[in-house]
């Protein structure tokens, strides 16, 4: 049972850093949404990219809300604390990522099947006629930079914090910059008369995004259903959980070892054994588990 208040000391600094990064993420994403909103004109690809950028706000906002709940201690209404707030945010982020992929695929397929020829006009500015596609290209180029940098910074933090929500946000940022590249190619293709280039590029990227979203959704659902602790970005049993199971099995050979993951923490249960006298989880050594904070509790069911 999580009765602590705040995050374990070992990850407190990384949590603070991640919160700061996610605020930056929200700010930059808003700036991209505004720039893209002004430049999108009649282009379907730009509109899709804009919707996708808007959905990109979901994971960082879910994280910022979840992290506030997570540090609260257990209370009369929530006896096990709020560790699972992160898991709930993870589900929301995974659904958003999957939705982005689905939306992109639908639009790309529709444009290809209906042979949609997008018109991008021009404007006269300071006496010069400028093709509006140049503004779209500039906006698309701008929309690539923030997610590329932020996503890159998120990955090591997600790894250290075992934060699947941040990992999914990094995937969302990857989806955003890849869609930006597809949009760039698409608008450039429109200028060259290749009406299909945009949709074809978007379709290929949509499949990759959907695959990431599906993978994240599987792990997020498994966590909600008390599945085994997973490796970050993978459905395999985590190496830390394996180390915990091995250590407990060695000490209680006749017992069954059950494990589940609540947010970033692992909880183990020893079935068919009683705790040794003076058993203290904090001083209990587990070989191969370097980040000790990962193991939140060991329960015994004789």
């Amino acid at each position: 049972m999580s009765e602590r208040r705040g995050h374990p000391q070992a990850i407190a600094e990384d949590v603070r850093r991640t919160v700061r990064l996610e605020w930056w993420n929200v700010g930059w994403t808003l700036s991209v949404i505004i720039v893209m909103g002004f430049a999108m004109g009649g282009s379907q690809a730009m509109r899709t990219a804009w919707i996708e950028d808007t959905l990109g706000l979901v994971p960082p906002i879910a994280f910022l809300i979840a992290i506030r709940f997570e540090k609260r201690s257990a209370n009369a209404r929530f006896h096990y604390g709020y560790d699972r707030a992160n898991g709930l945010g993870f589900v929301i982020a995974a659904v958003a990522l999957g939705a982005v992929g689905l939306l992109l695929l639908k639009d790309a397929a529709l444009s290809l099947f209906t042979l949609e020829h997008v018109t991008v006009g021009s404007i006269r500015l300071f006496g010069r006629d400028i093709w509006l596609g140049w503004f779209m290209l500039a906006a698309q180029a701008y929309s690539i930079v923030p997610p590329l940098i932020i996503g890159h910074k998120e990955l090591p933090l997600a790894k250290r914090l075992r934060d699947k929500l941040i990992h999914t946000d990094a995937l969302m940022n990857k989806a955003n910059w890849q869609t930006g590249v597809a949009g760039l190619l698409g608008v450039a293709g429109l200028g060259m008369g290749w009406w299909w280039a945009d949709s074809a590029a978007a379709g290929v990227i949509a499949v990759s995004i959907m695959s990431d979203g599906w993978g994240a959704l599987k792990v997020a659902t498994a966590e909600l259903l008390d599945g085994i602790p997973h490796e970050l970005g993978d459905a395999k049993l985590s190496s830390e959980a394996r180390a915990i199971a091995k250590s407990l099995k060695a000490q209680f050979p006749d017992a069954r070892i059950l494990m589940r993951e609540t947010g970033r923490y692992i909880r183990a249960e020893v079935v068919g054994a009683s705790p040794p006298k003076n058993f203290d989880i904090d001083s209990y050594e587990i070989e191969g588990l370097t980040d000790r904070w990962r193991l939140d509790s060991i329960a015994f069911r004789p």
């Binding site: 949609e116 020829h117 997008v118 018109t119 991008v120 006009g121 021009s122 404007i123 006269r124 006629d129 093709w131 596609g133 429109l190 200028g191 008369g193 009406w195």
Partner: protein
């Protein structure tokens, strides 16, 4: 409209061949690539607005609740051609 066509002919080196017909036939012909350019009196909120590209009108007038414009129409996605049409129209004082 004549001055516009002359300017366009001078820029492209093309000779205009004019054909008349109903709006429905003109739009279908444009979509099929039979014409490069058409002129018609169409409302700003015409249902054809998504099927073809409306350019700046030469003149506007009210008809009941709606505003119509006698304008050039081009095939969707012909971006270089549309940019040239827009530039020529602007040079003659239409559009912005």
């Amino acid at each position: 409209m004549k001055a516009f066509l002359s300017a366009l002919a001078a820029k492209t080196g093309a000779r205009a061949q004019v054909q008349e017909g109903s709006t429905e036939a003109i739009i279908a012909g444009l979509e099929a690539g039979n014409f490069d350019l058409a002129f018609a009196d169409l409302a700003d909120d015409s249902p054809w607005i998504n099927d073809v590209s409306f350019l700046y009108p030469f003149e506007r007038h009210r008809l009941g609740e709606r505003t119509l414009g006698f304008r050039s129409i081009a095939r969707n996605g012909e971006n270089q051609w549309i940019a040239l049409l827009e530039k020529t129209l602007r040079d003659q004082g239409y559009g912005k």
